[in-house]
């Protein structure tokens, strides 16, 4: 049977890995290739590289570091951030990325999901969604890479995810913004609601602080993967130990 995935997320800015709390106050946590290599060695099942400033600044990630990562890694990885066209996506996939993730550009032009899926197949196309409760409903946020440019979208999260899958997204990463970086646990309630409308793999993001949080999100929200950043970057949780513990708790993981 399929193993649940543990996915470190590396937020990238200006060629370095950074991490902030609730999308602000980013601090430098290391070199991209060094961290990628370390996580693969520790047993990460997949990596996500998120160029957090790309959409806000209107530029795209640079294939140079994508290629450097692809040379080193023998596990799959996804590249996100400012991919606005089929050509942007192709450059990253041909540099060695396994998947590309679209977030803000898909909100501005939803048909980009259709175009990417037609060109590369749904299995390459990840829909990234930043979501939080606004006026009593889960809604999608836009431009989260730069606090000065953050705008609130009007789309309801569940509607947007259903539309994205209908257009051809092959995986959804749901980043629950109220939980991001605060290590208080995943947003189980929201993830359970999204699970009901998500027929593709669903990856939980935002809130991991203890190993019990991973167990909860797999058991209660039935997600295929759990993504985390700060707990891994800061050594709060070691991936190998986490997976061994999850295995002992009855969660199917890759040893």
């Amino acid at each position: 049977m399929l193993a649940r995935r543990i996915i470190p997320c590396l937020d990238v800015r200006d060629g370095r890995v950074v991490k902030g709390v609730r999308f602000r106050d980013h601090e430098d946590v290391g070199d991209i290739v060094d961290l990628a290599r370390r996580y693969a060695r520790e047993g990460a099942d997949e990596l996500v590289f998120y160029d957090i400033a790309a959409s806000a600044r209107g530029r795209t990630v640079e294939p140079e570091w994508v290629s450097a990562v692809a040379r080193e890694l023998d596990i799959p990885f996804c590249v996100a951030g400012g991919i606005r066209s089929v050509d942007d996506a192709r450059a990253r996939l041909f540099a060695g990325a396994d998947k590309i993730s679209v977030n803000t550009p898909a909100l501005e032009d939803p048909a980009i999901i259709d175009r990417l899926a037609a060109e590369f197949g749904s299995q390459c196309v990840v829909l990234g969604v930043d979501s939080r409760i606004i006026e009593g409903a889960w809604r999608v946020h836009q431009y989260t890479g730069d606090p000065d440019k953050t705008v609130i979208g009007h789309r309801r999260t569940l509607d947007w995810i259903a539309e994205g899958i209908d257009r051809g997204a092959g995986e959804v990463v749901l980043n629950c913004m109220d939980q991001d970086g605060v290590r208080d646990g995943y947003d189980i309630e929201q993830l359970q609601a999204v699970r009901q409308v998500c027929s593709t793999p669903l990856i939980a993001s935002g809130g991991a602080g203890r190993k019990e949080h991973f167990k909860s999100v797999f058991e209660l929200a039935k997600v295929e993967g759990a993504l985390a950043a700060s707990v891994f970057h800061k050594g709060v949780i070691e991936i190998g130990q986490l997976k061994a513990w999850l295995g002992g708790e009855g969660i199917r993981v890759r040893p």
Partner: protein, 199 residues
């Protein structure tokens, strides 16, 4: 001698190239059958969707060249699927080098589509040379929405609500549904096995 890595023009070759380089294996990218001389075996990597990929292969003459060649050939992911007679993905005729057809993979009762992630191998043919040193239970990385139902050519399966052909073998032609280039140490071993295998 080296591995000929078949470039159809729409394939993402980078991850396979890097995996061969990490394993210290000699390869060269070949974009036409005219460049097959000097290669002792071939890899056909995964490429987008079946329909466009088959058109590219036919345009370049790979369908005829591979039909008569007897050197070891390894298809990866969609590259494996195109070795079969036809695919339900776009209802296209494929290379016909392995008997059987590719069908749409139904999601498990409580599962999702496509099949994406690390799944455990169950080895059916202990003599399969590509699986030397690999044990049942070893995890490899899958990303696909269509599949080869298990049959006489199936050497290993994984379980995704039903058995799914993970590795197939027909004479000198083999195929991996998973991505050995993204399957950690197990995948590297499988690529090295292919580079050394006599079939």
């Amino acid at each position: 001698m080296s591995i000929g890595l078949i470039d159809t023009g729409c394939a993402n070759l980078a991850s396979v190239r890097f995996a061969l380089e990490r394993a210290g294996l000699t390869y060269r990218v070949i974009d036409t059958p005219a460049r097959m001389a000097g290669c002792d075996r071939f890899i056909l990597p995964g490429v987008g969707a079946a329909g466009p990929a088959m058109r590219r292969l036919r345009t370049a003459g790979w369908d005829q060249a591979l039909a008569t060649d007897t050197r070891p050939l390894l298809g990866i992911c969609l590259g494996m699927q195109m070795l079969f007679e036809r695919s339900a993905e776009g209802e296209v005729a494929c290379l016909g080098l392995i008997p059987g057809a590719i069908e749409k993979l139904p999601p498990p009762a409580d599962g999702v589509w496509p099949h994406m992630g690390w799944n455990a191998l169950e080895i059916l043919d202990p003599d399969e040379p590509l699986l030397a040193g690999i044990e049942t239970g070893e995890h490899v990385y899958f990303v696909h929405g269509f599949y080869a139902p298990p049959g006489p050519v199936t050497a290993a399966v994984c379980d995704y609500g039903r058995p799914v052909s993970a590795l197939v073998r027909h004479r000198h032609i083999a195929g991996c549904q998973f991505h050995p280039e993204r399957s950690g140490a197990a995948g590297a071993r499988i690529l090295a096995n292919f580079a050394m295998s006599s079939r």
